[in-house]
């Protein structure tokens, strides 16, 4: 590390100069932080300040820069020296120190100590950082693979082609169009939202076929997918058994949905009389009628009355039913009732609903249906029986009039839902050795919820990933995406799920969704070409690497990577696929022998910060609390708390981490060993409604910290000294409170005996 030259820059703006002794900070940076020099500046983020740093980089050969000024979340544009082969560390003196402390004489000493520690920490961190270089294996491939030729897939293909990218659509059936092609008309997508409109699928198919950038492969499946963003390789196998291998930069999975099997609803008359049909079957009947009156399937009599039963086998906890709302069926029934009303206004059409859901402007479509004389009855159907002489009788409870009634109709239409066509359950449990039956049953139950009614028999993508052949699912078989922050991102970088495979949706929503997924796919392949992260650390050049001679092949990193970025080679060493990586560092946190690191983020960069903090002796009444805070939520929450004038303990030293999942337990045990009195870990919400950017990071951290009690007992320390919390970005009052509570706790249980 002979070529490391640290330049430390201490800002005096924003009141830092008034509140802190910056000359002392500069001295500490030089003496303790081993900086080549430390400079103070009145206004560091100004043009002059930045120019000063740039000049030092160019003329003085500074390659490590310490900015002791505001939070690393502020002024990122001014202090962006990363691209120049320079590593930058930020000491958070503004939000982290002066704004978090009262401006009083008594507080002055501890506030200054806080600032000094942050300068020490920044110097220590930067010394162990390496300026990140782009991934040398980066490849650019501007072709996109679209799996599925329905409305979502075709929209994605057309959008990608318009943006100048080559597309291959692989469709398993013999024709493009998917389920939408089977519709007579669709729910309107534009004002005045009054009548059913042409599906537009024919025109869409024509433009797909006419587009020179789009290749369509029908009757084909993906039999193998390997690689990573920028260099995916896929085997496309046609029905005849011919296979060809193609390379792609990104993949869009638009594998759509499977209609719910209505034969599971005998209580609603399906299968008992042909006059009870599903919405899809009605579309076929209407198409057959060709504009004339619709005929009853049982005897060909003209239909004079229709009852639509909403939520058939949906929004129900009964076994074999869908627990969720499929979202499209209310407006679909209104549309279908209009088929009848538009043909003959004297036909009675009743929609039997419990909650009518007509999102957005489709409320106007609902009104239009009412205007056309469609009767909306709030009630729950209990039974549908075949009627004498054709048709069926619907027994239901009227929820407004609170009575059991029945109505006879020539035709009963069941609004059944959609099941995502998302492939196999890659997390399907197998009974492990030593696992109790009870635990195994619990795991099986979780798998049932995860897959819902998805049969999970045939893989869609056949990924050659260590984690399994398809995208992970969260609930009911829908491909998991981060629905709070990044709805298009699946847990497989460069593979984007879109349309009803991601969540239930109608045509309008699916088309909008496909545009989003396409833009994401383009982003992913372009970033992969430049060797940098696409998401969520956009533009991050660093990527994890491991020291092979230290690796014990324990496979923890490959198992715990939430994104399947790490495979194993023949010798069972990890193989990092950089462009699949999201740079969360969960592998780094997992590694028991600590051989995994990023160039600018490693066990050392954080470990050295922890060590750099000055620990006063046991009798000083100045405890030290270490906070490892997620940089996405907890750290900004603390910044915002300080911006809002919320003060917290001066004994706390906060280290931002990429994700709580990257926290290696060695940091915690080292901290306690070197005399810290308490450690707080702040990550995001975990579990089913996770908010973690990296899906599993926070969960992993909680799991790992659950086991740290043993280490504490060995050290004969109180277990309360280590706390793990879920902190949201909005917890601006709670996060400082948690810190202050730790200070009070330490006051109660006493200082750590490990201070030397």
């Amino acid at each position: 590390m002979s070529d490391v030259k640290i330049g430390a820059y201490i800002c005096k703006g924003c009141g830092l100069g008034d509140r802190l002794d910056t000359a002392a900070l500069a001295k500490i940076a030089e003496r303790e932080g081993k900086a080549a020099f430390a400079k103070e500046h009145d206004f560091l983020c100004s043009e002059a300040g930045v120019a000063m740093i740039r000049e030092d980089i160019e003329k003085e050969g500074v390659n490590r820069v310490v900015i002791a000024a505001c939070s690393r979340r502020a002024k990122t544009d001014a202090f962006a020296f990363d691209g120049d082969g320079v590593a930058v560390s930020r000491a958070n003196l503004r939000e982290g120190v002066i704004w978090a402390r009262p401006d009083t004489e008594e507080a002055r000493e501890t506030t200054q100590e806080m600032a000094e520690d942050y300068v020490r920490m920044a110097c220590a961190e930067v010394r162990y950082m390496t300026p990140p270089q782009p991934n040398p294996e980066a490849q650019t491939n501007r072709r996109i693979l679209v799996v599925g030729g329905g409305v979502s897939g075709m929209t994605a293909a057309l959008e990608a082609a318009k943006a100048g990218y080559e597309v291959t659509i692989v469709e398993k059936s013999g024709a493009l169009g998917g389920w939408a092609a089977k519709l007579h008309r669709r729910v309107p997508d534009h004002a005045p939202y009054a009548d059913p409109q042409e599906t537009g699928v024919e025109a869409m198919i024509q433009s797909v076929e006419a587009d020179p950038r789009i290749e369509v492969v029908l009757n084909a499946r993906i039999t193998r997918t390997s690689g990573a963003p920028g260099r995916f390789s896929a085997d496309i196998t046609t029905e005849s058994g011919q296979t060809r291998t193609e390379n792609f930069g990104a993949i869009i999975q638009a594998s759509g949905f499977i209609p719910y099997d209505a034969s599971k609803l005998p209580e609603l008359g399906y299968g008992k009389t042909p006059d009870v049909v599903t919405q899809l079957e009605l579309e076929e009947l209407v198409r057959q009628a060709g504009g004339g009156p619709v005929k009853r399937p049982s005897d060909g009599k003209e239909v004079r009355s229709v009852v639509f039963v909403q939520c058939a086998g949906q929004r129900s906890d009964k076994e074999g039913h869908l627990p969720y709302c499929s979202g499209f069926c209310c407006t679909a029934s209104i549309k279908q009732a209009m088929y009848f009303k538009d043909q003959n206004p004297d036909i009675d059409t009743t929609i039997l609903y419990t909650d009518l859901r007509t999102p957005g402007y489709l409320e106007d479509f609902y009104r239009s249906g009412q205007r056309k004389g469609v009767i909306f009855t709030k009630g729950v159907a209990s039974e549908v029986k075949p009627a004498n002489g054709g048709g069926a009788v619907v027994h239901f409870k009227d929820l407004i009039l609170d009575e059991d009634v029945q109505v006879e109709a020539d035709l009963v239409v069941l609004a059944t839902g959609m099941i995502p066509n998302s492939g196999v359950d890659i997390e399907k449990p197998e009974k492990r050795e030593g696992q109790s039956d009870e635990d195994y049953q619990k795991a099986l139950e979780e798998a049932r919820v995860r897959m819902g009614l998805n049969p999970g028999e045939e893989s869609v993508l056949n990924l050659q990933y260590r984690q399994g052949p398809d995208l992970p699912k969260l609930r009911y078989g829908f491909a998991d995406s981060h629905f709070i922050c990044f709805p298009y991102e699946t847990r497989r970088t460069g593979i984007y799920a879109t349309g009803p495979v991601r969540r239930p949706m109608d045509i309008t929503q699916a088309m909008e969704d496909a545009v989003g997924a396409t833009l994401k796919a383009i982003q992913a392949l372009e970033n992969a070409g430049k060797g940098r992260a696409a998401h969520p650390r956009v533009g991050d050049l660093s990527y994890p690497s491991f020291r092979r001679d230290g690796c014990t092949q324990c496979k923890r990193c490959t198992v715990e990577c939430p994104f399947g970025a790490i495979d194993e080679d023949e010798e069972r060493y990890p193989v990092f696929n950089e462009s699949r990586c999201r740079r969360c560092g969960t592998c780094m946190g997992a590694c028991p022998v600590r051989v995994i690191s990023f160039e600018n983020y490693s066990v050392d960069t954080v470990g050295q910060q922890i060590k750099a903090v000055d620990i006063p002796d046991e009798f000083s009444e100045k405890p030290r609390i270490l906070v490892l805070a997620c940089e996405n939520d907890a750290y900004p929450a603390l910044d915002m708390a300080a911006q809002n004038g919320i003060h917290y303990s001066p004994f706390v030293r906060i280290v931002p981490v990429r994700c709580l999942g990257s926290v290696n337990t060695i940091w915690v045990t080292d901290a306690l060993n070197s005399g810290y009195d308490g450690v707080i870990l702040m990550g995001c919400q975990k579990g089913e409604n996770y908010q973690c950017h990296f899906v599993k990071g926070s969960e992993m951290a909680h799991y790992r910290m659950g086991k740290i009690g043993d280490s504490l007992e060995q050290l004969q320390l109180e277990v309360e000294r280590v706390q793990t919390y879920e902190v949201a970005i909005t917890d601006i009052e709670r996060a400082p409170r948690l810190i202050n509570e730790m200070e009070q706790l330490i006051e109660k249980i006493g200082m750590s005996p490990f201070k030397f």
Partner: protein, 208 residues
Amino acid sequence: MSDLNAQMVEKYRNSFLKEVEANVEEGEWVKMCMQCGVCSGSCPLGPYWEHPPQEIFMMIRAGKREEVLKSESMWMCTSCYNCIVRCPRGLPITHIMHGLAHYAERLGLAPKQNPTRRFALMFWDNIAKHGRVNETVLSIKLYFMDGFSAGIKRALEMLPVGLGMLKAKRFNPWGLFFHKGCKGKRDIQKILAKAREIELAKAAKFGG
């Protein structure tokens, strides 16, 4: 039982809705109700209605013709217009309630003893005769609506108010014997007769 069954099935045909649309003032709005219940929740007399407006709309759609038309419910409306202001679908609920009451009266199905109905008829006779309300006669009639002794009792209760009004020249006891009415009494009666004719012609179209 099967007879009742058939009746119920028959009820769920939507012909009554059409009847209402054709004959009741603003009746074409009934189908636009989305059953949110804001009207029922907003009505200051809501708890006293047997069937609040939301339910009335549902009953019309369910074809409960007799039950709706014989109901006392729409006679409860005091025209405060709270429901109209709040209805997210913009239904003129107050007008529909009055329209329904009026229609029921026309068909002879309205509850005979309903006090609102009786007062309304009294008021109508009074104003139609002279083109202007004779307040003295109207209030005396209202007091004695339920018989002589009840009338005396009510009048005595209101005595202080009546004396006060007399002092302030807001009450004219001579009105009991002399009432001028408005200038064009005959013209007013002609107008009313014509209006009635038009209404009946409209009703005849749908056999109401």
